[in-house]
């Protein structure tokens, strides 16, 4: 797995983590996200277009990044919002997951709280 980092300016600064290759471990993606967060990143778009498949370790990494970026979203309000389909993370979004990668995201129900975009520019502009 390789991770390329691109810093974009939309309505707010957005850090794009472009992942290439299967995601079969969580450590590398978590470490990269943590480094970007420490450097000031507060909005992250994970580009999964070149990820042919993702194991549960990838879900673990997305989970880690979500918790890293969330601000004040917790407890029953968040849980109810997810169940009602009214809550989506404002700070972590996904770009172009496909095939087994998309299936893994849906199997875990991550698509219920992480927005998925097909267009890179629209994804970047969606952060406010």
């Amino acid at each position: 797995m390789k991770i390329n980092v691109v810093h974009e300016e939309g309505h707010v600064p957005v850090t794009v983590l472009q992942v290439t290759g299967p995601i079969t471990s969580n450590e590398e993606l978590e470490a990269q996200a943590q480094a970007e967060y420490t450097a000031g990143a507060r909005n992250i778009l994970v580009d999964l277009a070149d990820v042919p498949y993702m194991a549960s370790a990838g879900l673990r990494a997305l989970h880690f990044i979500f918790n890293l970026l969330k601000e004040g979203d917790s407890g029953s309000t968040l849980t109810k919002g997810i169940a009602a389909g009214t809550y989506h993370s404002a700070h972590l979004k996904l770009l172009r997951p496909k095939g087994p990668t998309l299936e893994a995201i849906k199997v875990a129900g991550y698509d219920m709280f992480l927005e998925i975009y097909q267009d890179r520019n629209k994804a970047i502009e969606s952060f406010t």
Binding site: Y53, L59, T79, A108
Partner: protein, 156 residues
């Protein structure tokens, strides 16, 4: 459930890999699966779910089976005529992944990722999963996926 099958006798009809019970070895498994897909002309995106399943079983053996103790994991892949078969063997304490209950879904991001997610993904991505202990006392998990188009290695 697909009948438990034996690996082909001929060495050239299946691919195999032995790794140590170390998470750092998972990159070798990743390369092995990628090479298998290339050698057999399998669309890696179509086989990706099956490869995830193999990764999950192997990761389980490393993390929950050997738990830091030294040991080996043997992975074999072959075509049985109707589908792609993976066999994962390890000598860790006996553990039957088919008995793992499904996790509570959907996952709440406010909590830690629940246990059993990996095995849940295995169930989603394969058509059959079976477990037995071999006569010499190893764990053996068989995974089967039907319908993958390929050019069999023996026919190439």
């Amino acid at each position: 459930m697909h009948d438990v099958m034996e690996a082909p006798d001929a060495e050239d009809k299946f691919d195999r890999l032995r790794i140590s019970a170390d998470r750092r070895e998972l990159s070798r498994l990743e390369q092995f699966l990628e090479h298998f897909a290339l050698a057999h002309n399998v669309d890696i995106e179509k086989a990706g779910g099956f490869f995830v399943a193999v990764h999950e079983i192997v990761t389980n053996a490393i993390v929950h089976g050997y738990r830091g103790e030294p040991g080996n994991i043997d992975i074999s892949l072959w075509w049985d005529g109707t589908g792609l078969v993976a066999r994962v063997r390890d000598a860790a304490p006996h553990f039957d992944p088919t008995l793992v209950p499904p996790p509570e879904l959907p996952v709440s991001p406010d909590q830690t990722l629940p246990g059993g997610m990996g095995i849940h993904m295995v169930r989603q991505f394969v058509d059959a999963m079976s477990y037995r202990t071999t006569p010499d006392g190893q764990n053996e998990v068989l995974l089967v996926k039907y319908g993958l188009v390929h050019t069999a290695k023996a026919q190439a």
